[in-house]
């Protein structure tokens, strides 16, 4: 037991499996027998319903490059800049697409040029324009879609034309891929992907709720980061995904029931607003020396689909509660035609999928509610110079948290995938200052 340790800790069992699945995803995108496309298929991976189509999102690739290979990330960002991409463009984008201009990936292998572009609909403009890198580089099949938005509670009348629009765009994508690449869409597999998402979401919700309600938290954010993309941003075989999330849920539940803490000396719980700097994850451990554990952000809990507090104070998934969330279509909805499947995948709420970003967009004080649910004591918010979606409303959120009595520390940097403008020495001095201002000194182990 380290100094100041109050609870038992145990190494995580699902850790090895998480690494293995992540490696599987990496291998799957390098296999050449598939037609590789750029874009986001949403939580349900409809591209798996085609015999040989793969859709790769550039976010995880960009984050990985920033984490593993800063020199290549620098070269890649320069390659984008000299060709006109602005320095205020999201780091993931510059890290990943510089390789397209350089012709190679960070490990020296040839760049996997994309052959089509599917949309990446999101309130974040950077996502909205994502795919432009391949489209402007050379002519290829490309499609668009929209993240529909309106303010206030759900309004079925406004949802109806938006749902038609989203269904039309998605149907055009799958029909055109069939026509152009001549691969028949397997509608059974599409349905299976949708079922996988609903099962995984349930598990992820339980994990998030356990992290929120249990003191000490069975899982800290650095453990959650090795889990949260499996089946989301990094798609692997559906059965493995369900089995893995069940494995994680069971372990977290057992740890919560047995008061096994992620951080033995937990005495200060803090949250974030957005992903950290992927090249500098070590600051989580640094704060743990002060007994300060991070519960993550709405971003890191993305697989749970967002949390909400019931009247009785308990916490549940976003759409269980009217009026803000709307339950997806019931599981036994008949799916006769391809259009039914696509409508089922979107659910009745045009603003779905309810990712954290939309919450921020529509409910600026959502972060205060999140801090409350996580029983947090403070928040550490990054102010990113580029990556518009990661920075919008950040200062406003800091003001609202301070009004609600939370201790908030702001620090500046470029973007989670871009290490420029982040003075690490200065950042750690700030952390020391913050901890000391809260009367927490370092618990040397």
């Amino acid at each position: 037991m380290s100094q100041g340790q109050r609870w038992k800790t145990r190494p995580l069992e699902f850790w090895a499996k998480a690494k293995e699945l992540r490696a599987d995803w990496q291998k799957s995108i390098e296999k050449q027998d598939k037609v590789v496309g750029q874009g986001n298929t949403g939580f349900a991976d409809w591209s798996a319903a085609f015999p040989a189509i793969t859709v790769i999102e550039d976010n995880p690739a960009g984050a990985m490059i920033s984490h593993k290979n800063p020199p290549f990330a620098r070269k890649s960002r320069l390659a984008c800049e000299i060709r006109g991409w602005g320095r205020e463009i999201c780091g993931y984008h510059n890290n990943c697409w510089g390789g397209q201009f350089l012709g190679c990936q960070d490990d020296g292998t040839p760049f996997p040029y994309r052959r089509f572009v599917v949309p990446f609909p999101c309130v974040c403009d950077s996502h909205g324009k994502r795919g432009q890198q391949c489209r402007d580089f050379e002519a290829m099949p490309q499609w668009m879609a929209d993240q529909c938005i309106y303010f206030g509670p759900r309004d079925a009348r406004r949802d109806e034309p938006m749902l038609e629009h989203k269904t039309w765009c998605q149907l055009k994508v799958v029909n055109d891929i069939e026509r152009i690449f001549g691969q028949p869409l397997d509608e059974e597999e599409y349905i299976r992907q949708l079922d996988t998402v609903s099962v995984v979401r349930a598990y992820a919700q339980e994990i998030s709720v356990l992290m929120a309600q249990t003191i000490p938290t069975p899982l800290s954010v650095k453990d959650l980061y090795s889990v949260y993309t499996i089946g989301g941003l990094t798609k692997v075989n559906p059965d493995d995904t369900i089995a893995f999330w069940k494995l994680v849920r069971d372990e977290v539940k057992w740890r919560a029931d047995n008061q096994i803490a992620a951080v033995g000396n937990e005495r200060f719980r803090w949250i974030e607003a957005h992903p950290p700097s992927w090249h500098m994850l070590k600051y989580y451990r640094y704060l743990e020396k002060f007994g300060a554990v991070c519960l993550g952000s709405q971003y890191s809990h993305m697989m749970s689909g967002g949390l909400q507090r019931r009247e009785d104070g308990t916490i549940s998934g976003n759409w269980e509660l009217e009026p803000k969330g709307t339950a997806p279509y019931p599981a036994d909805t008949p799916l006769a035609t391809r259009e039914d499947i696509v409508r089922y995948s979107f659910g009745p709420d045009a603003r779905y999928p309810y990712t954290f970003k939309i919450d921020e967009y529509l409910y600026p004080d959502k972060i205060v509610e999140f801090a409350g649910m996580m029983q947090a004591d403070g928040a550490l918010l990054g102010l990113w110079r580029c990556g518009v979606g990661c920075t919008m409303t950040r200062k406003e959120q800091a003001m609202r948290l301070r009004d609600a009595g939370y201790q908030v520390l702001l620090y500046e940097g470029s973007q989670p995938g871009d290490r420029t403008d982040l003075d690490e020495k200065q950042f750690f001095d700030r952390l020391d200052g913050w901890m000391e201002s809260l009367g927490l000194e370092r618990l040397e182990d």
Partner: protein
């Protein structure tokens, strides 16, 4: 009706198949401009077929073709569950059949004749040349047809054989007896091409001795093959490089039986076309039968 320009009419019946045991019997009629075919299929297998020259009346030719296909079996038209019709004279087919367009029939028929690995089916018909690019699951990806006029098609070879008094079955093999192909005739417009070909027999002005008979046939058929290459090449050409064929190639239609044209196209494309057990003229009728109902 002249005897040189017509493919020999044929009738065939599967010796071992008992049609009564079949759960589903379909038939297809391809009433083309130059020839008419009827094919009967039992549960997707070819039971019998007949092929004859179209002559003047589509109606009569279609009826005759179906009668010959059913000749010698006790099957009647009433036993057929579903029937498809296609081709230029499809509207004149006197049976209760569903009209299906030619490209779908030749695509489906081509996959029946050459198997699923065929990706480019080229129909060398009496008046139109259709190049069809397929995907694995007989989804038609792209079609190209000769721009407008029937130059270089079955009808013109038919007239040529009558003029040169050589059976249509022999002009192809005879034209392959040359070492190298001579300069092709300057046009494939069959009115001018035929007179130019006749002229090649005369005493040449700027050549030591006149062309041999084989060289004259080669000169004409080489020009026809080159014209068809234009249609095949338009199926999604590359930016740079020679003509490329997508996947395996299969010829259907009357001219597919003329090696003088098919061998020359294969030589230029550097591929060998797939062969089929059945007569390539049947592709349209078989496709109509498979797609019927």
């Amino acid at each position: 009706m002249s005897k040189y320009g017509i493919w020999p009419e044929c009738v065939w019946r599967s010796p071992e198949m008992n049609w009564r045991a079949a759960r589903r019997i379909t038939a297809g009629i391809d009433a083309g401009t130059t020839s008419t075919q009827a094919a009967v299929l039992c549960d997707g297998a070819l039971f019998s077929y007949a092929s004859l020259a179209t002559g003047v009346d589509f109606n009569r030719s279609a009826t005759l073709a179906m009668e010959r296909a059913l000749e010698g079996t006790d099957m009647t038209v009433a036993d057929i569950h579903a029937m498809g019709r296609t081709g230029w004279g499809s509207a004149n087919v006197p049976f209760p059949a569903q009209h299906i367009d030619e490209v779908q029939c030749h695509a489906k028929g081509g996959r029946f004749l050459f198997g699923p690995e065929v990706h480019t089916v080229v129909d060398l018909g009496g008046q139109t040349c259709k190049a069809i690019r397929l995907f694995d699951w007989d989804r038609v990806r792209d079609i190209m047809m000769n721009d407008k006029c029937a130059t270089g098609m079955g009808r013109s070879i038919e007239r040529l054989c009558e003029l040169l008094e050589i059976p249509i079955t022999e002009i192809g093999p005879r034209s392959l007896e040359v070492q190298t192909d001579p300069e092709p005739v300057s046009t494939t417009c069959f009115a001018f091409a035929n007179t130019e070909t006749m002229g090649l027999f005369g005493r040449p002005e700027f050549r030591a001795e006149p062309l041999s008979e084989a060289e004259v046939y080669a000169s004409h058929l080489f020009a026809v093959a080159w014209r068809i290459l234009g249609t095949i090449g338009k199926l999604q050409p590359l930016d740079v490089g020679d003509i490329q064929v997508y996947g395996a190639l299969g010829f259907t239609g009357g001219l597919a039986k003329n090696p003088g044209i098919t061998r020359r196209i294969e030589r230029e494309l550097k591929v060998t076309a797939l062969e089929s057990r059945y007569d390539p003229m049947l592709a349209g009728a078989i496709g109509a039968a498979l797609l019927a109902g």
